[in-house]
């Protein structure tokens, strides 16, 4: 492979990372807003949030990407920059999975903690902010770590739309060299390294957050079997 082709691959890495960061931020925002809304005491708020989750979790990420690229522009007259279209499609879809993580972790907090908060006259929002979220967030890190890996893999889908990410650069190099094994091996290795680094960062974060409360780090067999429905949000590099 020539240095020109390597440059192409590096550009692809950069696009993939940009897309990953933007869509991860968007997915995190959606996760928390929708996940917290699903524990709201008004049934209509819970219903709408639940509806959002079912719809966006039910759809395929790739179909969603097609929809945002082809249906949104003529229907609403916006032409989104590809990066934002990809961010929107991935953020909305993976945010729906994330909201399930947030809801699950919030409902796993001992109900006695809520009663403790009521006895001290906290408002519902103060209970959420001071008691429930601080206890639930460390528990969310391992599943969010898995979801982040899924999101990284999901970013490859935008290459089908012609966006110049890592997977797309692989296709270009294949066409240039008329040879596939080498370039696709490199591309897969690069994705693997990024996934490995992300897992390390998330594990460090988990240790830091759980350190103060003295909780064990890592997942158990029970958690594996009772995982919420996922997009294949499975394990990660260990």
């Amino acid at each position: 492979m020539t240095s020109g082709l390597w440059e192409l691959v590096l550009k692809g890495v950069w696009v993939t990372i940009q897309l990953l960061v933007c869509s991860a931020l968007m997915a995190a925002a959606v996760s928390f807003v929708v996940g917290v809304a699903r524990t709201h005491r008004l049934w209509i708020v819970r219903f709408l949030a639940g509806f959002y989750t079912e719809v966006f979790r039910g759809t395929s990420a790739l179909v969603m990407i097609f929809w945002v690229f082809f249906v949104l522009p003529p229907a609403f007259g916006w032409q989104l920059v590809p990066l934002w279209a990809g961010t929107l499609a991935l953020g909305l879809t993976y945010g729906a999975y994330g909201s399930e993580i947030v809801r699950g972790a919030l409902s796993a907090v001992d109900p006695a903690q809520k009663e403790g908060g009521i006895a001290l006259s906290f408002t519902p929002w103060q209970r959420m902010r001071l008691i429930l979220l601080p206890q639930a967030v460390p528990e969310m890190i391992p599943p969010f770590s898995n979801l982040l890996i899924e999101l990284l893999k999901g970013t490859a889908l935008v290459s089908i739309m012609g966006m110049g990410d890592l997977a797309f650069s692989g296709n270009l190099v294949r066409l240039a060299l008329q040879e596939s094994a080498e370039i696709y091996t490199y591309i897969l290795l690069i994705y693997f390294v990024i996934a490995f680094l992300l897992t390390r960062v998330m594990r460090g974060l988990e240790k830091k957050l759980k350190g103060g409360v003295g909780k064990p780090v890592g997942s158990t067999a029970d958690q594996e079997l009772s995982r919420p429905q996922t997009t294949g949000v499975g394990g990660a590099v260990s």
């Binding site: 006895a119 001290l120 006259s121 906290f122 103060q126 206890q135 003295g214």
Partner: protein
């Protein structure tokens, strides 16, 4: 012990001469099971009232109704002149500020240090300055004998220590009423005395109103002004502790006492 950390005497104007809590015809059911059956009783400010009786007789339910953790199916509950059901969220929170509760399972917040467990509510709910809250929290921790545990997390403490922190946390809100829900039931036997000593101190040296569900009969005898004997959701006998414990009128009370004493 420094008295300025304890509930402020001036805050209880009704001291000894007014009704603080009143339950009228209160009924609570869980499914088919009637836990409280048209219950009437009232507590005067400054009094220490102990609820005794077999488990499942509805004692804990009364405390949880007063703390608004449960809603009654029928009847009215009044605290310091304010009806609890129905009431606006704001009115309910105002009433909650007057009531502190200590739970059987402590319910300390594991994500906060001991000190912050005690200071958080005074700062966010009462709007107290942080310095003042910390100072008062330290006084309260000294009172319960845990001055050196400020920076510990609840998970690092024994059950007895956690419960003493929970008592300090409830008192930090300067409540007029303290609800004690079987506070020693979850503790190992050797840790019970330390917690009860702290509560005896509080009962003696303050004029806080106490409503106490307990199986510790000696403790009940020491601190109570009045003892209420419950059975099947009704009060079957009420009176001064000397009378209830020494010469109960009802057979049911005698049976219960001979079983637990």
């Amino acid at each position: 012990m420094s008295t300025d950390t304890l509930p402020n005497p001036e805050k209880n104007p009704a001291k000894g001469d007014g009704e603080l809590i009143r339950l009228e015809q209160v009924t609570k059911r869980f499914g088919q099971n009637t836990v409280l059956d048209h219950l009437d009783f009232s507590v005067e400010a400054g009094k220490h009232v102990t609820l005794i009786g077999p488990s499942g007789s509805g004692k804990t339910t009364i405390l949880r109704l007063l703390m608004t953790l449960l809603k009654p199916d029928e009847g009215t509950i009044t605290v310091d002149g304010q009806k609890l059901f129905p009431a606006s969220d704001k009115e309910v929170r105002e009433v909650r500020k007057k009531i502190g509760m200590v739970f059987q399972q402590f319910n300390l917040f594991p994500n906060m240090t001991v000190l912050r467990n005690i200071t958080e509510a005074p700062v966010t709910v009462l709007g107290m300055s942080k310095d003042e809250a910390v100072e008062r929290a330290k006084g309260l921790l000294e009172m319960v004998g845990l001055a050196d545990k400020c920076d510990a997390h609840p998970a690092q403490l024994s059950g007895g220590q956690q419960q003493r922190v929970a008592i300090a946390r409830a008192l930090a809100m300067r409540p007029q009423v303290l609800l004690l829900d079987e506070v020693t039931s979850a503790l190992d036997p050797e840790l019970v005395a330390g917690v009860l000593d702290v509560l005896r101190d509080i009962a003696r040296s303050t004029d806080i109103t106490m409503l106490c569900v307990t199986h510790e009969m000696n403790f009940a005898r020491d601190i109570s002004d009045q003892v209420l004997m419950f059975d099947s959701g009704r009060i079957i006998e009420a009176g001064a502790p000397e009378k209830i414990f020494s010469e109960p009128e009802k057979d049911r009370t005698r049976e219960f006492l001979s079983a637990v004493l």
